[in-house]
Symmetry: C2
């Protein structure tokens, strides 16, 4: 390995060591500088200098400043619970959500508002402006709590390609979302990142739910749309162009209802919220209030679940149809990916008691006999995995490149 020895490279090495020391603190905290030197293979002098730099950036703090004295070399250090924090945003058909995490991944602020004009004609610029207002409000609230937001990741229910987002359920067609968000959001040192909501919800499950214990899993998410986040060896499987996991457009009813993607009989047209509400004859109720914690309750899902609990005949028939469709799509997932587990999130999690028997039956028939086992089906306990995953993704970016927050 030959590297140039000029000053540029020294800067690069300092930045790499900064990230190395911070990652080790995150893994082993609370940890002394002496132990960090052993764990990283760096000299004690280098470790002390990098810990001082991380402390100056507000990323690291001495564990017990009262007893040991702030910055005393023998005192163990930890990742700081402030001021540096990350902002996660989510836009979905019926609501906008925000979540602020500090670097210890503790939730400091959560907020959710109904999406203006949901159901009316699509206006992407209204969405961008509304997301900007939410971000400004949350940034003010964070400032008053002594937090500095250094980056934002936005979860969208769409397919990303080449910097643009197609989200037919929002009425977005090749929207240059990252650029538009960057203009509408408060300025921050890290660039705005946009990602698919199922991907971020899958990471939310990994970091804040049961994901870390499940092995490789496919997280099924969705309200109006349906997506999947595929976790292999503790990381997202994103595909060649970042568009892997588009479960909603797996065909489960060949020749069936036309889909907004241009195909026919897509899973989304059978098991998406709109399709299920229509089949169950449940009206789209008003979105939940501005501080609703449970975003899955919007757009009639709550009423649907109440009718299922009351054994309403049409609701049960709609759930059966959705469960059979999900079964066909998850047989494809299982045959192709051979995951250890399938995680139900979003609407499928809320409907799990009525969907799971159909999914299990499909898995046991469709190749289950050949492979001698079927994946575990796990119901997510998170109701806001996507926005948690979005904020967690900002924290991961800070930990990977701490110098960028300066």
């Amino acid at each position: 390995m030959s590297t140039p020895d000029g000053p540029t490279d020294l800067v690069g090495m300092r930045e790499r060591n900064l990230a190395l020391v911070l990652a080790e603190i995150d893994r082993s905290q609370p940890v002394t500088r002496a132990r960090l030197a052993e764990l990283t293979g760096l000299t004690k002098t280098t470790v002390s200098a990098r810990v001082a730099a991380l402390t100056a950036l507000g990323l690291v703090s001495a564990e017990d400043p009262v007893r040991a004295g702030r910055g005393r070399p023998g005192a163990p250090v930890s990742v700081a619970s402030g001021p540096i924090a990350g902002l996660g945003l989510e836009i979905n058909v019926g609501y906008l959500s925000a979540c602020v995490l500090d670097l210890t991944r503790r939730v400091r602020i959560r907020r959710s508002v109904p999406r203006a004009g949901a159901g009316a004609g699509a206006d992407p610029h209204r969405d961008v402006a509304a997301l900007g207002r939410l971000a400004h409000a949350v940034t003010g609230q964070a400032r008053r709590a002594g937090l500095t937001l250094v980056g934002t990741t936005v979860a969208v229910p769409g397919v990303l390609h080449g910097g643009a987002v197609n989200a037919p359920n929002l009425g977005w067609d090749a929207l240059p979302a990252a650029e538009l968000f960057a203009e509408a959001l408060p300025p921050q040192p890290l660039p705005v990142t946009v990602d698919n909501e199922a991907n971020l919800a899958a990471l939310g499950e990994l970091w804040f739910g049961a994901g870390a214990g499940l092995g490789d899993y496919v997280y099924v998410s969705g309200e109006t749309g349906i997506g999947a986040g595929i976790v292999v060896a503790g990381a997202l499987f994103r595909g060649t162009h970042g568009a892997a996991g588009e479960l909603g457009h797996v065909v489960v009813a060949p020749g069936g209802p036309a889909c907004r993607c241009g195909g026919r009989g897509c899973l989304e047209q059978v098991a998406g919220l709109d399709a299920v509400l229509r089949a169950a004859d449940v009206p789209d109720t008003a979105p939940a209030g501005p501080d609703a914690r449970d975003c899955a309750d919007v757009l009639g899902a709550g009423e649907l679940v109440r009718r299922l609990e009351a054994k309403d005949r049409r609701a049960l028939a709609a759930a059966k149809r959705a469960g059979e469709g999900l079964g066909i799509a998850l047989v494809a997932v299982t045959n192709l990916f051979d995951p250890a587990a399938l995680v139900l999130g979003g609407l499928p999690a809320r409907m799990a008691p009525w969907l799971t028997p159909h999914i299990t039956a499909a898995l046991e028939a469709g190749g289950g006999r050949l492979r001698g086992r079927t994946p575990t089906i796990w119901r997510s306990e998170l109701t806001d995995g996507a926005v948690l995953g979005a904020a967690g993704e900002v924290v991961a970016r800070v930990l990977a490149a701490p110098g960028a927050v300066a």
Copy 2:
């Protein structure tokens, strides 16, 4: 990194260095010992000792022994084209194949025989015995050509789970194939490995076909059954239990014909050879002769293609149905994996001119508009990718652990 310093570890280090030097020779050949020392970071003394050991094992040879004198340190060395060689075997519904590769991956022997009792009642032990006879015959032929076979990989059209193979199209149910093969095959220093034929054909395409230039791809294979080998970042994606890529059991006709897997409407029941021949009214003809090079010709596939070329109405209708089924399954593959390319092998490659229009139409409709692109469709030019991949897998095992051939 703390490691024990005992003699065991010295042996481990010697073995690691042996593999490191051999891998670098394979990558950079012809290459001098001095250059190998630079490339590996090992001392020249260590490189010379390891090259001598590799030469003694028959794995490496001096490039130009006449001019430079065998073993002279300045002479470049290369991977030896003998005597060490690997045996690939394939068993499929209509035939058994064998292929011998030397360590330069040159094909030294190919052989193919019809499967005894194909179509009659299943008898796994007859299959094992027939494969043993083929392996003994090829081993004798290799010995007469001055080659020593050090390991065998067997391609099977089935799902592996926990050391057993389920191959309904062969009539194998939880067959402990690796153990049975190990008894029936000539003794060799490396253990017998069994793998799914689609996985090995996907590797065959990577090493001997167009695979290396395609990016991530999904290789679609099959005669009676249909499988897929998924190549991500130049390696097989195997799934949690090694059973990824079971494309044949993706449901493409919900409620359709019963499948041997226990499901209904699996792709195999629409686009597998048996199903297509039945729909096209082509009889299962006699398998090809004992030295057939083109194994895809067995069981009526040749006659089917002739009828398609003659625009036979029933054959065209059968191809349309198969193409539409493949289209639905490959829309699922594309939505879930987002590959750069889809490679058609086996029967789908032979039928490609009649299948591709339906596959392309399905891809363009099913989510193609959302993602702004569809994967490239590539027709494999290999007619025996699985057995080539099987033999190549033995070569890869030798290169990864050269000490094991001693």
